[in-house]
Symmetry: C2
Subunit: 750 residues, 2 copies
Amino acid sequence: MKNSFLRLFLVILSTVSVFAQSVPNEKILMGFSAENSSRQKLLEAKFDVSLKRENLRDWMKRLSARPHHVGSPYGKENAQFMLSLFKSWGFDAQIEQFDVLFPTPKTRLLEMISPEKFTAKLEEPDLKEDATSNQKSEQLPTYNAYSIDGDVTGDVVYVNYGVPADYEELEKRGIDVRGKIVIARYGGSWRGIKPKVAVEHGAIACLIYSDPRDDGYFQGDVYPKGAWRNENGVQRGSVADMPVFPGDPTTPNVGSTKGVKRLDRKNAPTLTKIPVMPISYADALPILRNLGGAVAPTNWRGALPVTYHLGGANNLKVHFKLQFNWDIKPIYNVIAKMRGKELPDEWIIRGNHHDAWVNGADDPISGLVAELEEARAIGELAKTGWRPKRTIVYAAWDGEEPGLLGSTEWAETHAQELKNKAAVYINTDSNGRGFLGIGGSHTLEKFINEVGRDIADPQTKMTVWERTRARQIVNGSPSARKETMERNDLRISALGSGSDYTPFLQHLGIASLNIGFGGEDGGGSYHSIYDSFDHFIRFGDPNYDYGIALAKVCGHAVLRLANADVLPFEFTNFAETVGGYVREVTALTDQMRDETKTMNQMLADGMLVGVQDPTQKFVAPKPKENVPYLNFAPLQNALVKLQESAKNYQTASKNKQILPSAQKSLDQILMKTERNLTRGEGLPRRGWFKHQIYAPGFYTGYGVKTLPGVREAIEQRDWREAQEQIAIVAKTMENFAAEIDKAVSLSQSK
Amino acid sequence: MKNSFLRLFLVILSTVSVFAQSVPNEKILMGFSAENSSRQKLLEAKFDVSLKRENLRDWMKRLSARPHHVGSPYGKENAQFMLSLFKSWGFDAQIEQFDVLFPTPKTRLLEMISPEKFTAKLEEPDLKEDATSNQKSEQLPTYNAYSIDGDVTGDVVYVNYGVPADYEELEKRGIDVRGKIVIARYGGSWRGIKPKVAVEHGAIACLIYSDPRDDGYFQGDVYPKGAWRNENGVQRGSVADMPVFPGDPTTPNVGSTKGVKRLDRKNAPTLTKIPVMPISYADALPILRNLGGAVAPTNWRGALPVTYHLGGANNLKVHFKLQFNWDIKPIYNVIAKMRGKELPDEWIIRGNHHDAWVNGADDPISGLVAELEEARAIGELAKTGWRPKRTIVYAAWDGEEPGLLGSTEWAETHAQELKNKAAVYINTDSNGRGFLGIGGSHTLEKFINEVGRDIADPQTKMTVWERTRARQIVNGSPSARKETMERNDLRISALGSGSDYTPFLQHLGIASLNIGFGGEDGGGSYHSIYDSFDHFIRFGDPNYDYGIALAKVCGHAVLRLANADVLPFEFTNFAETVGGYVREVTALTDQMRDETKTMNQMLADGMLVGVQDPTQKFVAPKPKENVPYLNFAPLQNALVKLQESAKNYQTASKNKQILPSAQKSLDQILMKTERNLTRGEGLPRRGWFKHQIYAPGFYTGYGVKTLPGVREAIEQRDWREAQEQIAIVAKTMENFAAEIDKAVSLSQSK
């Protein structure tokens, strides 16, 4: 009550200041007429005052009270609880179930046989400071989902982060992982990349541990004294080959509805080819301490109190055994709709997952409770008679953790309807204290900047937009600082993968945003039993200040998108951003050409070998094929066209003279522009990923590759494919520009 | 015997290849006529074949057999042993004694009283793998020389490397070291800087420990398994304020000969103002583990298995007591001369120290034995009737470790004679396996490049010059790589301090070189009892390959300088290098101006405060005075003059038509050119340092500051002084150019 009163007071103050400051706050919102813009601002002010932080806290406590992973009783209870909430707020809500392959461990054994006897604990102990940490019977053990079964014994090689560049370093040192177990540290890529690359190099198993350098005492005090991962903490997580496709590994491209035809598990391409398991740094230490062979390169060394060696010296014998229950489990998406009164077939979709690896107070409940509060506040608005112009869909996804299961299966099941109706998808996941972070479609960059500019930061007198901008200026390099100061909008990042936007953006071509706060909350609980309510209220967002801020950013975004006269897409920022990508891939070939030439020269004249320490083994890399000059002209020409079209739409939309009769047709074009950035055949060797501008990297997993077809072909030195992909992406950009041109014609039709 | 034979064989082969390859090896040596050049090459070939690695090994074993620090019986024995060697080789040798203040510990106590009881061991245990490590009765304890006595109890603050920038970080976090004990890690500056800066900020004592990140298991396996410092290893060393002046702290500017008038110890400006002691990481760990307060910045964190905190939280109570025997001890320089037959009053001086902190097989014996072998080989040449044209002086300095005592007192005592007679000083110190490293006067850059181009690398088919160049190309940044590939000579580094060249170069203005190999030998024994013969033959230069290579580089340099028709000074490389320094100091003010403006702006508009985590203490720095534009024109004009003069001398010296009668006069000018880079008044606040181009940094200690008067005034934001110093350095450069002009006139006098 006290809080609401204060908030109301602040709103009144800020209303006063609108008159005082005049221009900035009187700015007409993108996509709105002046009149509708004022009305919308009032609506958002009402939305804001109704937000209650107590709800976030209560729901987090409730939803994270017990482990709620896929297939758990409490996961189902949570879904039913949310269903009843959505219904009580006036949404047309339902639970949509899918049945998915979800392995859980039956046997986990890791033991060193020589030179030292040691059996890994593979267990996170409960702590008296953490009330839910003792729920042993309901907790999933520490494991990596979609690892295959296995029973191997062998020598061990330390592979750093286990990405391709790391294996190049090993090769230079004459170290071969064939027939060996690799141990990689978490970080440097998404975890699923590590076993994939290990298999490519012939390893028989993969251990992944959390090094205290990246995720432990080096970063800060460990739990329960501080937020960071203690020596027994383990990061669970999926290791399916998600850059090929996410979702149920046995049902690519189709929803895993009842009775769906499944791939035989043996042929499921995204399951690992070798057994994989995550371990704590306490369990990793005895292995790392005993590794022989050369000392690891400087930037491979973590914070354990040992000299990091590469291993592969045949002085270790480690036995590793894994067996899983390969069960089909139900997952429960909660889908809540509020039908648009004018354009019911234009959907603004808002989602956050609800499943966790264990209790998941931070991941995903911190984002989920903000989403719920948004929905409740929108429900309140609706109770006063207001209805959105477009349909609003609130979703709480199940099965995100094992592989974006709930969102992917839903998106695959409803693909045709979504392609027709979805305008925008807005995703959140974990949320913390600190700075606004936004990734997404650059056609929404200007829009989401506008939203951020209006939200007050809870800790300062800045807006959340100003504070993020200030950080880029204060901490940025001189050139980044300059750009931030001169650019009108903050750059949003391109999306790779790692949360539920992927099926919407990259499979279906629905313009998407992913939004969250962070940077000042303490890490270290990720995917462990210590990701708990107790941890979150000490180290996350103790007062839910940023939970409320997130509800405001996303709530305003949803309400504006739902109510705008014309969907607020904008293309000049997109065109400028893609221009940057084109320059990057061009520069990349130039840089690779120079490096290849230099390296080949240094090989040929003996310099590279000559500077090595002859007491250390060194295997000179083979000379590489010279990098040809590619024809980037199709991309460059398409870019010019794109920039023109974008500019024309900007000019046309400034008119604000669009006839109401044209608005609907315009919307239909705008909401589908992103679809034109996809290609039915998808990317080479991973047809599920259809977006031609953004994709998770084949070798990064979460990290984005922009212009992925072109960029990855260049990175893989496949010049023929690179040239083909240049043509494909250029054509994609031309089609996209043609859609903008249609929007321009409609905007001009008075 | 076998080795000598092989060597002779190689020389014959290389003589043959002279005819085959022709030009490169037939190149006439700098400063020689064609005929004399051929003769000189034959002399150097004879020198080379007489070098015996067995001698290096035998002498190292002998000289490092027992601790031989200042004042030790074995130090005196070593001096006498070397005296007899030099005499046996035909040198006119003598021991020159000085009496110096040399404190040794009487009481050393470090204990934590709370929150945990702990008494530091302050002791390096002997190891069965290291034969001399058990010589307890003769070893100096672990301590820092020239710390004052003290007995303090207080809270502790971790100050990272303890340099000024670190205190700025502490201030931002609201941490004050006044009345507190600081603990700094080794590295980031010369150790004597740490207590000096601590005092400036009000600390009452200073502990310095070796963090395993920089000097321990993070770097590689620790001793005795590997080369690196183990948990009990301690780095002894001087903490006198040597950037003010080196040598005996009570006899600045004058030799500490018998009966010299000494400063009262209380007034000796280079003694520390607070007690200081080095400790091992085993002794540091309990203190660091118990520090409270904020978590240290990321790049402050070392490799101990703790979260690094800043302390200053008043939860620690540490008691630290130090008492010294403040004795005057004798030191013994060994000075061996071979009189020049034509120009006896032109001296080529070659030195390496002989004192160590303990057994010092690496530091300094590895360099000393190469020097001895050079002298022996030159003695052999002399026994065949050859005599150098100029006088050669071989020196083995005592007391380098506590503060360049032997070299400084000798240089101060013989200042006038040295100013008249010294042409060049060539220094070595520790030597290891790997790459040729050269620092020194850039007037000798071309000369020493020529020397390095002729010496074969022991491990590859390259010359030592080619291998160092290859490393710069292979490992360099693209721009550094480009420069190395395009430049005719390898750049030599400018000298700061850290070994015995300092009194010659920076006090007297004698052109100097400092030469050594390294980069592939294992560190970690520095200034500990483990710097032993056993350590060196496992991890240093096991076969003395690089000891021989060093003897060749320095021996050739000595012989060429001693025999050249005209001293091989050259000025275009110097002028180009100084041009770079002028551009650096100009760019520095521009950069500081931009940074100041940006920082002040970020302060004024609240951005800097706004981006801080409000749950962490943050004290915003005060706005800084804007950086004015300085008048660099005097420097730039002087530079133009210098470049012209240098170019003219280059042209003139290509004539090779200098009359023998003019050679001597020319030599007299050339050998004193470097004197013209000094100024009688010396640098501001440290008049002992007279060189205007090179000095150890006031806040770096070993690290060089080029154009120190100008650069340090700018860094300290003393704009008035910077402007004054610009004028002074410009005048210095003009005077120097005028001397070159005289050399040009003489060169042209046919």
